[in-house]
Amino acid sequence: MGKIIAVHSYKGGTGKTLFSVNLAAAYARQDKKVCVLDMDFRAPSLHSIYGLDGSEYWLNDYLNGACEINKVLIDYTSQCKCDGTMFIGLANPTTEALRDMSSKDRKWEMRALGRLLSLKHALLNDMELDYLLFDTSPGLQYSSINAIVSADLVLVVSTMDASDIQGTKRMTHELYDLFEKKTGILMNKVPIEFLATPVERESVYKRFENTHTLPVLKVIPCYCDVLRAGGTKIFTRDEPKHPFSKHVEEIATKIERI
């Protein structure tokens, strides 16, 4: 059976969406059947990254119980430059939809959790997906926690920012542990000079693993190329030989073994 991965972080701007789309493309290149869902209903971004206008229905509609998930998914296979299959599920980026999603009550959130949990059957069993990725919003929010509860594995993206590291540690004890989730850390935007030699790299890994008391799947240097692309490029698809793409491919392989 496939895996559901929630990509989460304590703070915004850590690289959740970057890893969600690049991991999805890396799996699709490996002939896998993959789907990425935009679960950041406060600040949707997948429509912009993939250059899509939307489908007949949004993920918002699925969570509202207005349609089934197959009405939301967009088949992106022909554009993914891959051997596999790729589907995208978009969140509605209009201001009206953002306002609507931020005013939901607890009963609605409870039903939304039920709808998300049922994706395991609909997408992993019926559609035989290998990977379903949830690109979540940062911090402790309903949509993110719903996604985390529904996932098999949580990938937490953190930077070296002290408040980010502290917040990530707190979420480990007060969120991921409480739901008994398998969790892995991705340290992103680490200054390249910290990783110059194998000894320094090992010391950085050990330091982060001791801090987080969780496996650090990868420490990724800060690449100016990635910053320069400004979210307009999916590196594992457009530049598979770029060092950043190699890091993502290694993460993809590590996840397969979890």
Partner: protein, 120 residues
């Protein structure tokens, strides 16, 4: 023995077993409630009914595990929950009944089986 139980002893024994099952379930709830009263963990009248993720986070660990399992299964017996949580059926039955009393789960009997579910 069979004479004293009448013409159909198996029917009578089955009735006794059912009654004992019910009694056992009530005892489990009673024991759990007493434990919780001692701990003063909950104030029943203040509790909301929605079993959303924030409520799940606020539950004690042992009940959260049971509640999350019911959310995943949708509708299940104590035995089915126990299979997932790897805890004893009687333990899960106690926790499930406690969640019913707290207003988070509903319970429905069908024949000998009791099904627990989240009312949506």
């Amino acid at each position: 023995m069979s004479k004293s139980l009448g013409k159909n002893p198996t029917v009578l024994l089955d009735k006794i077993r059912k009654s004992l099952d019910k009694l056992n379930e009530k005892m489990e709830v009673f024991i759990e409630l007493q434990k919780q009263e001692r701990k003063q963990d909950f104030v029943m009248q203040d509790l909301p009914e929605a079993l959303d993720v924030m409520t799940l986070l606020s539950l004690p660990d042992h009940l959260r595990k049971t509640a999350v399992t019911i959310c995943k299964l949708g509708r299940a017996t104590a035995e089915e929950v126990a299979e997932q949580t790897k805890r004893a059926r009687a333990v899960e039955s106690g926790y499930l009944n406690q969640l019913v009393l707290m207003g988070y789960l509903k319970k429905e009997r069908k024949g000998r089986k009791a099904y627990f579910f989240v009312e949506k």
